[in-house]
Amino acid sequence: METLLSLENLHVSFHTPQGDPEAVRGVSLELRAGETLGLVGESGCGKSLTALSLLGLLPPGATQTQDRLRFLDREWDRPTPEDWRSLRGREISIVFQEPFTSLNPVMRVGEQVAEVFRLHQGMARQAAWAASVEMLKKVGIPEAASRARQYPHQFSGGMRQRTLIAIALACKPRLLIADEPTTALDVTVQAQILKLLKRLKREMGLTLMLISHDLGLVAQMADRLAVMYAGEIVEMGDLQAVLGDPKHPYTRGLLACLPRLGAQGRLASLEGQVPEISYLPYGCAFHPRCAHAFKLCRRRDPELKEVEGRRVACHLYGSGE
């Protein structure tokens, strides 16, 4: 499978009166066409920022730098607003976590979908409306024709998320980023949305980047998995490799916290908390919470290295077993 997108050495920092702390400290990743990459980590580890940086949608007050961003045959080191606009909606789309506030409350739902058709494919008003109704049907909204005329506040949470998906996939983008798509929904609706995403991915040959703090959810969907901690990717590889034999202490800790059917005894939990990005410890950011931490971990921040079919950023594997 050829590489759809590759990102090298992404840094995201916020400027505040007390200095410019970095929320993302040199993340590099690539996405192969047609695969599903899961990006997991506790909240505040920079996974959403990484996703947003792929579309240049960082909130004001944040600045992003990267060595190179390559998408199919195009390549940039510092994309201009026009470059970002050429990607957004047409090549890469995104679905956010908050369905309740992500739709314009005073515009009809059908119109918000049709807008993308009119903009990217220059469709006339009628054609765009028909296409939008079609798209809403595709994402599983009942009586799409009549519901399209309604307003967002008349839709349930699940239906609004489906609309957002319809908007994102209207122009058949190559990559769909789903940033915690189901977090705000209840469990039953969650399952439906995931099933929908799987179906659409298959039908439209999509590449999917699924971001979540819920390992269980990602495990059902992803082909490859990347674990982030304090603004860095600490372990990345095939799903089975990472889940079956987790190498990085943090990954191991995360998996230990997952409730298992039939398992007895107290759930394990990781001591300590995710460090504040403006007061990061030296060397490996995880070392204060790592049982195996030794002198080197406290001095140097480990790079990602190939270890048994996946890449890990930990000194345990650097200098021999």
């Binding site: 916020f14 505040t16 007390q18 702390p21 909130p59 004001p60 309740f100």
Partner: protein, 272 residues
């Protein structure tokens, strides 16, 4: 993620305390006795002796400004607070409850807007007699209607939000629903109306004192200084300049303080 810019809040609070200090410490700060007339020095421009010149009766404008701060800032802030309090609460109640409560409050708004204020004031003077509290009462009685309608409109559009419905289903009492959920998001227009409300209240105090409801001569207030300056605008500009600047700067202080508060409570909106 990043700490909100405390600068606006810091500067706002600093100036607010400064103005309040000037008002409270008037007796010690005022260079001369504000009521001492010296008809010989009538309408003199600002000079080392009189920093802000003298008024039509030869009284020192600088000391009248310092003493005037006591009335104007006192009445101004109290009236604006009262107006905002009544307006926000009734507006929120009308917006959140809807139905007959909403109709009742909104019709009260219509009534208060239409009753001729001048006669209301004159009637009040007879029954309550002149006095600063009555000035605050009148300003509040006639001022709350605008804010009420603005807040009600904001609340109406918030009402449908899921998180509100969720809170309501969880059995939140109307007041908890309003105070905890609806109001924090509906305070947008309130900031603006408070800022402009202050200047309005200061000028209204002058109007009401002019009719005999508020302070009686020779007690100074910024508003009365300004209105008496109108007759000498061409010959004595300073009678109008300094009260005008004072009102403008107090508006600025309230704005800075408000902006600081907003940044503190709602960083996302202010970050744009």
């Amino acid at each position: 993620m990043n700490a909100p810019k405390p600068r606006a809040l810091k500067w706002g609070a600093f100036f607010l305390l400064l103005f309040a200090g000037v008002a409270l410490l008037a007796p010690w700060l005022s260079p001369q006795n504000p009521d001492r007339q010296s008809l010989a020095e009538r309408l003199e421009p600002p000079s080392p002796l009189h920093w802000m010149g003298t008024d039509e009766l030869g009284r020192d404008v600088a000391s009248r400004m310092v003493w005037g701060a006591r009335v104007s800032l006192g009445v101004g802030t109290a009236a604006v607070l009262a107006t905002t309090l009544i307006g926000v609460l009734l507006g929120a109640l009308a917006g959140a409850q809807g139905g007959w409560v909403d109709a009742l409050i909104m019709r009260a708004v219509d009534i208060f807007l239409c009753v001729p204020t001048l006669f209301l004031v004159l009637a009040l003077i007879v029954f309550l007699g002149p006095g600063i509290e009555n000035v605050i009462l009148v300003i509040a009685l006639t001022g709350w209607t605008d804010i009420a309608r603005l807040v009600r409109a904001e609340i109406l559009s918030l009402r449908e939000r899921e998180f509100v419905l969720a809170a309501r289903t969880a059995g939140a009492s109307p007041w908890r629903l309003i105070l905890k959920h609806l109001l924090p998001n509906a305070l947008g227009p309130v900031y603006v109306s408070v800022t402009f409300g202050l200047a309005g209240a200061i000028m209204m105090e002058a109007g009401l004192s002019f009719l005999g409801l508020g302070v009686q001569p020779p007690t100074p207030s910024w508003g009365s200084l300004l209105t008496s300056g109108q007759d000498y605008l061409q010959t004595a500009y300073w009678l109008t300049l300094f009260p005008g600047l004072a009102i403008c700067s107090s508006m600025l202080v309230i704005y800075l303080f408000g902006e600081g508060l907003r940044e503190y409570f709602n960083p996302r909106a202010a970050q744009r």
